[in-house]
């Protein structure tokens, strides 16, 4: 599914690499937490998978393809097989919940019939049945993140990438989001989630990958947030 081979990434004008010689592999169907203190390179790791950045050295393989060999105009097609969720939801404030999810299908040119069918399905899956016509501003943060997950999942991607999806949520809503991601993972979708949330990681007991200043310092199945807490 995802393979990093000796990947390093140094941003322009930075002297310290954000990722330093990271190698790992994530299999189909796994649920993986990416932890590490702020600036340890978690977002960089995810951006490399999304090909928003390119590695300075090393190879990144996603869904069996070497991203270095992927030409620019093929990147959008690759991204359609990934779902992405962020801390700040990234919804369009002037579109309804349903339109926000449909937008993701419209801009990749899906036929209208398909859209009409799958949008309510996925909204029901994330627990927003009946809220199709609400505006994002009228929803709680937890509900907004559900919309974002629905949008990421509507295309039934093989891989769901989440960068601190509970970062803006209170503990109660966070638990709800984690249950949803777990449910999505059970459908066979690989989930890779960067987080700071100690309680969640400790409770879920999934594979934990820890970065520290760009170094891969831990890769533990059924792990907890950190040794020292």
């Amino acid at each position: 599914m995802i393979r990093f081979d000796n990947v390093s990434k140094t941003y322009p004008k930075q002297n310290r690499p954000a990722l330093d010689n990271v190698s790992l592999e994530i299999e189909k169907g796994e649920f993986v937490f990416l932890v590490g203190s702020s600036g340890s390179g978690k977002s960089t790791f995810l951006r490399l998978i999304l090909r928003e950045e390119r590695p300075s050295t090393g190879e990144v393989h996603v869904l069996g393809k070497d991203l270095a060999k992927l030409s620019n105009w093929k990147v959008p097609h690759m991204r359609r097989q990934l779902g992405t969720v962020f801390q700040d939801f990234r919804l369009l404030p002037n579109k309804t919940v349903g339109q926000n999810v449909a937008f993701a299908l419209e801009v990749i040119g899906k036929p209208r019939g398909t859209i009409k069918k799958v949008v309510p399905e996925v909204l029901e899956l994330v627990g927003l049945a009946g809220k199709q016509d609400r505006m994002p501003g009228e929803l709680s943060g937890g509900e907004q993140q559900r919309v974002a997950i629905a949008r990421a999942f509507v295309n039934r991607p093989m891989l769901l990438i989440a960068d601190e999806p509970t970062g803006n949520l209170d503990p109660q809503n966070s638990v709800g989001i984690m249950k949803l991601l777990d449910r999505i993972n059970r459908t066979g979708t690989t989930v890779l989630m960067a987080t700071h949330d100690q309680a969640i990681v400790d409770q879920m007991r999934k594979r934990v990958i820890e970065l520290d200043q760009g170094h891969l310092v831990r890769d533990q199945s059924r792990g907890v947030y950190g040794y020292q807490h």
Binding site: N72, W73, V75, P76, H77, M78, R79, R80, Q81, L82, T84, R90, L92, F103, A104, E106, V107, I108, G109, P111, R112, R151, A152, N155
Partner: protein, 306 residues
Amino acid sequence: MRAQFVMAEIWIGLRRNLTMTIAVIVSVALSLSLVGAAMLLNSQVNQMKGYWGDKVEVSIYFCNKNNQKNTKDTPNCASGEATQAQIDAVHGQLDKNPLVQKVYTETPDQAVVNFKKQFPDSPLAPYVTADSFNNSLRVKLTNPSLYQEVASQVEGQPGVAKVDDQSAVLKPLFNLMNTAQWVALAIMVIMFGVTLLLIVNTVRVSAFSRKRETGIMRLVGASNFYVQMPFIAEAAFAAVVGAVLASGMIAVGKYVLIDMVLRKQITLISFIGWGPVIQVMPLLVVIGVGMSSLAAVLTLQKYLKV
């Protein structure tokens, strides 16, 4: 489906920033109308050049009674009015010259008629009589710039008062028209530049203000086409509307300026008709759309990366 969605997005984009859209349309309209005006000025000048270019000829004036009194200006006329034999001799020489295309004669009576036709408003008109004019020959050359060779052959021959090159008289006029063409060209280039800058700026503002949408589009794997199309289409739409407005302004301008004002007052000049105006209009649309799409594409290269 795709098309309908794209249209809807463009419409939302245009409406969201209505003031902006109006601003772009207005500025494109203004710029293109100056571009169009410059083009029409060019047509006008070319038409005038053609009109007068046809008339360029060499005039050979023979002595008349008045010239005899006034030998300071016309020393060749001391022996009095030119005889018909002298006139015929010059005429014969010119007919043999290979540089000469055609020779017309003009008697003083014809000259009076021509003068009154050409300058009906001249304060001199009432006093112009056949006495004021001379017998003359009008010579059309195969190549007007070789005037000097013909002139030197004829000048100083008995009975010839003066050889006049009309092209010398028209030269300042042509220079003036050339200058007008350069000025028109300069205005056109300036307006092209201003329009381009305006559109680039506008697309930048548009791209800035829709960063969220484009970010999400790229996130979910929309192709570059889908991401950039709305901006390019917005710019092109504004350009089309602007060009149509500009066409209207040009048509009104031509009607008011040329048909209502100038044509009544300047009868000597032949003004352009509706033909060149109608030719300029589609050109403005093409220029507007081409320029704005190009500006949009180039701007987006920088502001919307994959």
